[in-house]
Amino acid sequence: MGFDTPEDVRYTEEHEWIKDEGDGEARIGITDFAQDQLTDVVYVDLPFTEEEFDQGDAMMVVESVKSVSDVYAPVDCTVTDINEELETAPELVNEDPYGDGWMALVELDDPSQLDELMDAEDYREFTENEA
């Protein structure tokens, strides 16, 4: 169905993306597929900076008119920055999921964990099977 799946990020089965920003940092958000499934996002519950997460921990909450979903930590990490714009403009998650709709910037505990996640091709295949 033609969802946007940029090549320069990694993907999880829970439909998060994570982008290596170099220097042991990475940016996290939800995929185009995820925002489409959720429909209009009305609220994003962001983590605190310096909060630590293990891979798979519930890290954030995205609320749409249809449902409330957890966003899980794609890797072990510590939050260094959050996208405060989402507090007043949650629609950015729908409009630009990989850009202005990013959610958290994190410091990676182990950058090699990124390699274990799906690349764009794997993820396209994964979502096709899921749909």
Binding site: V42, Y43, E63
Partner: protein, 495 residues
Amino acid sequence: MPDEDRGFRQAYWDEPTLFDLDEGPQPSDQFPEGADHGLPEDLTREDAGVPTVMRSRVTRHFTRLAQMTYGVDTGTYPLGSCTMKYNAKAAELLAQDEGLLHAHPLQREEDVQGILELLYDLGDRLREIAGLDAVTLQPAAGAQGEFVAMRMVRAYFEDRGELGEDSRCEVVIPDSAHGTNPASAAMAGFDVLEIPSGDDGCVDLSALEDALSERTAAFMLTNPNTLGLFEQNVEKIAEMVHDVGAKLYYDGANLNAILGVTSPGAMGFDLAHFNVHKTFATPHGGGGPGAGPVACTDELEPYLPVPRITRDPEAEPEHRLDWEREDSIGAVRGFHGNVGVLVRAAAYILMHGSDGLADNTRRAVANANYVHQRIKDAYPAPGGDLKKHEFVASAADLEETKGITAKDVAKRLLDHGIHAPQTYWPMVVDEALMIEPTETESREELDAFVDALLSIADEDPETVTSAPHTTALSRVDDVGAARNPILTWDQANDE
């Protein structure tokens, strides 16, 4: 308009708020100007911020609003999990009894023996219905009942020195549970562990097995579950939970499916809450008022909240409020609970008697199965074919073939003068329409509901996706309302 035969049109008044109708300060027959009110000067003010409107206009205002609303007294209200049954007006009359209505919560015990007796007896009956040993009537709703029960479980393990960082710190909950379950457990200080449901929509025993350990304090279960399916393995589940030393909690939202036929106690539960406002036909909607009594086993009884109502026929007065319970988790709500609601529940139980309650249960289950059987080709419901008092149908096929979503079906039902079912919950079913007809719908009303659902499935998508057409308001901007809520009159006027 396809609905013209049925002739449903909701009243519509372009009705302003009372603030918009404010006529400013008016002479009052109750508080004549310059009268000595005896209040200190520095505690009085000229403008109370309350609009002044002529009595006739106020009456019209509320009558118009009432005409534009929809309730159980207007028509079918199949809102799953909410048990929107008809509330007998006789119970209403009893609750309006002068003596009950004007009793003050601070009156001396000896002067309110009647109400204490009524509440004590209600507790006794709820205890029997739950198949458990003790009851509190204090919690103000189901969610608070859950919270109280989880606090009790915590106190129980704390007392035994079992509560620790790696011990009795978790509450296990199936993914089909109501959102209040994890919220209550978390608020009571537990970590929440969610387990996936099996393909049959019931608890997956191996997932449960993996989740249970000495870390587990409780397993919270709704039975029948939110798909309206009876957990066939409930006795096995109780055994597994008890084998690791944890407590089994019964979310009573769906009690209307088993009331008088079986009980949480008989199934091995240690604690349970009632949603009095669902099962026992007290009015609810718009957030209240409700009541969420909690029943428990003798073992957990010491931890029930205060005050407890006691009875001693030898003593004077016979009924007392006992605040001196050393192990109690404390007070959770002011005074005696939502007494008005509890009186209605007591009336309901007495009006039906135990056989009547069981009859209601059977009828509620039959009604749900009747609707399910008639609509299942158009709206299949996952899980076993035999439902309890409710079921979750899916509009996923319609969505795929015609682009008609569960929300569109729900909106289109309004054109038939029927309230929407619960939608998009539980989240384990795509395009969920959660339907609970209750026992108080006649065969004719059920048929009209089924016919409406079937005709919607056959309609052209354009008509359905632009519905409702015959209500006071059509589609509202729910995204705008969620992103930018305007909650007060001042706010609306600042915009």
